[in-house]
């Protein structure tokens, strides 16, 4: 039933959208199909979407692979800090990360690249560096050091050893990291909206512009269908790529950098991470205390009021309060649906139910948002004015993250424990509540925290569903930063800082109370799976 619920949650909005694509008033119509698919512009936008994802992937690999190699191979002072810094942008809401990047590469920064692909690529690099560092860095770290040493003893030079030992060993990890990065960039939305400045566009942005600016819902619906096809195709490639599994064995063992070349590699990688991940965050903080040219706290102290000309219906502080509560509700719903679903997925790994739970990924967040809006907005049941629509949509988007954390934990429960429980009379429901659930409570807490962070930062679906007086913080940030003038931008920076702090706090608490490095496991298990596309 839980799996059926998930299927319904995702498929109904999509069905509503596709229905809209082929219906005109009361009759059938292929007009929107021929209009959109027959336009050269559509294919140009699709081409740009794929090309920017490919370019972002290449850029991320070029910067990320050396960093991953350094982090995986060497033990050096500050290694943990460098690695952690590289991970931070990945857990931030896409709108927040884009705002941070715009503090460096936007109208208020030293170079204004807003409205160009460069700004978008920079944000994608910052966001996805974590993927390469974690996935590839892990694989590098697990290459048996003896292999490398043996190769050298047998007469291979350092380059030769790299080519014949290291590269074959990490190739599968590189492939799956690249595939993940590509997928994230393909459905990137918040980054494009904030940094694209209306000048650069992708399928996701085009769906948004058509539906919310041109009021061309049927056209948007056709594009959403095209987006689903594109993402499914990419997922297929991703699956094929990661099935070619590789063998990385051996225990983690890092060594100190020895030669001057190795020391400078460590330095270079550390500097790269500081520039890519640290500078935008520092600029964000700096810009939040600046108004025009002056140093001031007024951006912070003025959060309780609506600035003139920003067009907000509620103050940023009120939006923050409601966002936190809404995200808590969304996370609760996500966990409530995900627990029984995880149990099913754990029972049959790779089975049909697990595939169904992948659905929210193949469908982008804008599709979920627009589809839900069309679905609930038809008489006799009109739910558009209800407060819970936004948390509900956020829950749909956050759901796979929870499953991704909880299902492996359930799967890892020793069969003997469950058998013992059964022998002692705990069957079905009672075994679930008294044995299984308590055993995986750490994973459930991690999943809930992750869902909370995801709901809080959700933008793609929320932007369609949040009414003006219930705007969430990411929507408010986008609205503020899209308006010229220093005051609105300053408030956007402050709100972004606050969301960074909240995300850090939630994941930090988890890290402190969880077993082993919980936030690390979150990144590994929660975000890295092929179906965990956080709409960005």
């Amino acid at each position: 039933m839980a799996v059926g619920t998930v299927a319904a949650l995702v498929l109904l909005p999509v069905a509503a959208l596709l229905w809209r694509a082929i219906r005109d008033g009361d009759g059938w119509s292929a007009d929107a199909l021929s209009r959109i698919l027959g336009s050269g512009r559509t294919w140009r936008v699709l081409g740009a979407t794929v090309a920017q994802a490919a370019a972002s992937t290449v850029l991320t690999l070029v910067v990320g692979l050396p960093v991953a190699w350094v982090v995986g191979t060497f033990a050096f002072p500050g290694r943990r800090a460098v690695r952690l810094l590289a991970l931070v942008p990945f857990v931030l809401p896409s709108v927040v990360l884009a705002t941070a990047v715009s503090a460096v590469l936007g109208p208020s920064g030293p170079v204004d690249l807003r409205g160009t692909w460069w700004a978008v690529l920079a944000a994608h690099l910052s966001f996805n560096l974590a993927v390469v560092v974690v996935v590839v860095g892990g694989a590098v770290g697990r290459i048996a050091p003896s292999l490398d040493a043996t190769a050298r003893t047998l007469g291979a030079g350092p380059l030769d050893a790299l080519r014949r030992v290291v590269i074959p060993a990490v190739r599968p990890a590189v492939t799956s990291a690249a595939a993940l990065v590509f997928l994230f960039c393909l459905t990137s939305f918040g980054v494009l909206v904030v940094l694209g400045g209306g000048a650069v566009t992708t399928l996701e942005v085009e769906i948004w512009v058509r539906s919310t600016r041109q009021f061309d819902l049927s056209g948007a619906a056709v594009l959403a269908g095209l987006q689903v096809v594109t993402v499914v195709a990419a997922l297929g490639l991703l699956g094929a790529a990661s099935r070619r599994g590789g063998a990385t064995s051996g225990r983690l063992r890092r060594r100190r950098p020895r030669s001057p070349a190795e020391v400078s590699a460590v330095l270079g990688a550390s500097i790269a991470v500081v520039v890519v991940s640290g500078v935008p965050l520092a600029a964000l903080l700096e810009r939040s205390t600046r108004l025009g040219g002056e140093r001031t706290w007024s951006n912070w102290t003025g959060l309780g009021s609506v600035l003139e000309g920003t067009g907000l219906a509620v103050s940023p502080a009120e939006a923050l309060r409601r966002s936190l509560l809404g995200a808590a509700a969304g996370a609760a719903v996500a966990v409530a649906v995900a627990l029984p679903a995880s149990r099913l997925a754990a029972r049959r790994p790779g089975g049909g139910s697990e595939r169904v739970l992948m659905l929210p990924v193949a469908v982008s967040a804008t599709t979920v948002g627009l589809g839900l809006l069309l679905l609930v907005g038809r008489p006799p049941v009109d739910l558009r004015g209800t407060w819970w629509l936004v948390p509900f949509a956020q829950a749909v988007v956050a759901l796979p993250l929870v499953v991704r954390v909880v299902a492996p934990a359930l799967r890892a429960l020793p069969g003997s424990t469950l058998d013992a429980a059964a022998v002692l009379g705990a069957e079905g429901r009672s075994r679930w509540w008294r044995v299984e659930l308590p055993a995986v409570r750490g994973a459930v807490a991690a999943g809930a925290a992750l869902a909370f962070v995801a709901c809080l930062g959700e933008f793609g679906a929320t932007v369609f569903l949040a009414r003006s007086d219930r705007a969430t913080v990411p929507v408010v940030i986008q609205q503020l930063s899209s308006r010229p003038g220093p005051a609105g931008v300053g408030q956007a920076m402050v709100l972004s800082c606050i969301l960074v702090a909240v995300c850090a706090l939630v994941l930090g608490i988890l890290d402190a109370v969880g077993d082993r490095s919980a936030s690390d496991r979150l990144l590994h298990r929660g975000r890295m799976g092929p179906w965990t596309s956080e709409p960005t």
């Binding site: 041109q214 009021f215 509560l325 558009r384 407060w387 007086d469």
Partner: protein, 353 residues
């Protein structure tokens, strides 16, 4: 499972104490203790005429709350997506270039204030549209030139729409996207009216001459226009921008910085209507009626830099001195715009994007 859902509902219910009340179908339970409120849905650069708003409150006992989100086009689309379950009572800011879109989705309740009879015929809408939308203000969308910039370079200010494609004015013009901006769309409509079927050729020439496209009027005028410190001395704006430059300079300017290129002007009318499903339909009708009152009409020029639609409304001195009323602005009937708007926008996008 149901229990869990109920739990989450409970948690979430705390999330929305909705003290504002009366703003949506769920906001009915505020016990009637607070004052009545009429919600005006409009674009975010709209400035409420404060004195007139106070006078409305004195008369009706209801305060006006403004809910703004984005530019005129975005507001209208948002309202259309919420049609039947609106975010407020009155929709204001639909202009002549977008007017026919309100016919979709049954967005508005028919209502015509008694005073609409005073509005000159050319500003009113024909047929069904006229029953839904009340004209409130008017103005002209024109290309403006930074007079000082041109004088400093001894370059003549371009005089016609055609001259904007002259290589002498290369990389000087900034316009708004007709997809997201109502002056942008109005300007596009003007070029179509002028060039007829050859309009795509005109835009190709503009593109080849380095026109820059911005998403909103705010970006074009307040960021890119040289008068605001940008790098483009030609901008699509309003014929009423020159008096605004004097007023907003707070004494720093005694003369406007911009001149209006009259040949480029297109008439624009802004309308108001009562949203279907409005929580306060009676107050909504009273507010639309009030928008044609002398108080509201006479306060519009200095708050929103537009011209009143009711003849005989006194104009402020800044308008008398600096506002330009182009002799013969392009006038394109809204129903004709409605027939072809989407095709024009579509084609414009293939040329410029």
């Amino acid at each position: 499972m149901l229990g869990l859902l109920a739990c989450s509902a409970l948690i979430a219910a705390c999330g929305d104490p909705a003290p504002s009340g009366g703003t949506g179908p769920d906001g009915n339970g505020d016990g009637g203790a607070s004052a009545r409120e009429v919600v005006l849905v409009t674009y975010d650069s709209f400035a409420l005429p404060e004195a007139a708003a106070r006078s409305f409150t004195e008369r009706t006992g209801a305060t006006i709350r403004v809910v703004a989100s984005g530019d005129a086009g975005a507001v209208l689309t948002k309202a259309l997506l919420a049609a039947g379950a609106p975010e407020g009572d009155v929709l204001f800011g639909v202009d002549s270039s977008l007017a026919t879109r309100v016919l979709a989705e049954d967005l508005l309740e028919p209502f015509q204030p008694a005073a609409v009879g005073q509005v000159p015929d050319p500003l009113r809408l024909p047929g069904e549209l006229g029953e839904l939308l009340t004209p409130v203000d008017t103005g002209e969308v024109c290309v403006l030139a930074d007079a000082g910039w041109f004088a400093a370079r001894s370059l003549p200010v371009p005089a016609t729409l055609e001259s904007l494609t002259d290589p002498a004015y290369r990389d000087l013009l900034v316009v708004q996207s007709p997809v997201t901006s109502s002056p942008g769309l109005t300007f596009l409509v003007g070029t179509v009216a002028r060039s007829g079927d050859g309009w795509p050729g005109y835009w190709q020439a503009l593109r080849d001459n380095g026109v820059r496209v911005r998403p909103s009027w705010d970006d074009a005028y307040n960021v890119d226009y040289t008068v605001s410190g940008g790098d483009r001395p030609l901008v699509v704006s309003y014929a009423s921008s020159p008096p605004a430059e004097v007023v907003f300079s707070e004494g720093a300017r005694s003369e406007p910085a911009s001149v209006v290129i009259q040949d480029t002007c297109v008439q624009q009318v802004e309308y108001a209507g009562v949203l279907r499903g409005a929580p306060e339909p009676e107050l909504a009708r009273q507010l639309v009626e009030f928008m044609l009152s002398p108080e509201w009409q006479s306060e519009l020029p200095l708050t929103n830099f537009v011209f009143p639609v009711v003849p005989g409304t006194p104009l402020p001195v800044e308008f008398e001195r600096f506002a330009v009323r182009p002799a013969a602005p392009q006038q394109v009937p809204p129903d004709r715009i409605g027939e072809e708007r989407e095709a024009w926008i579509e084609q414009w996008r293939t040329i410029l994007e």
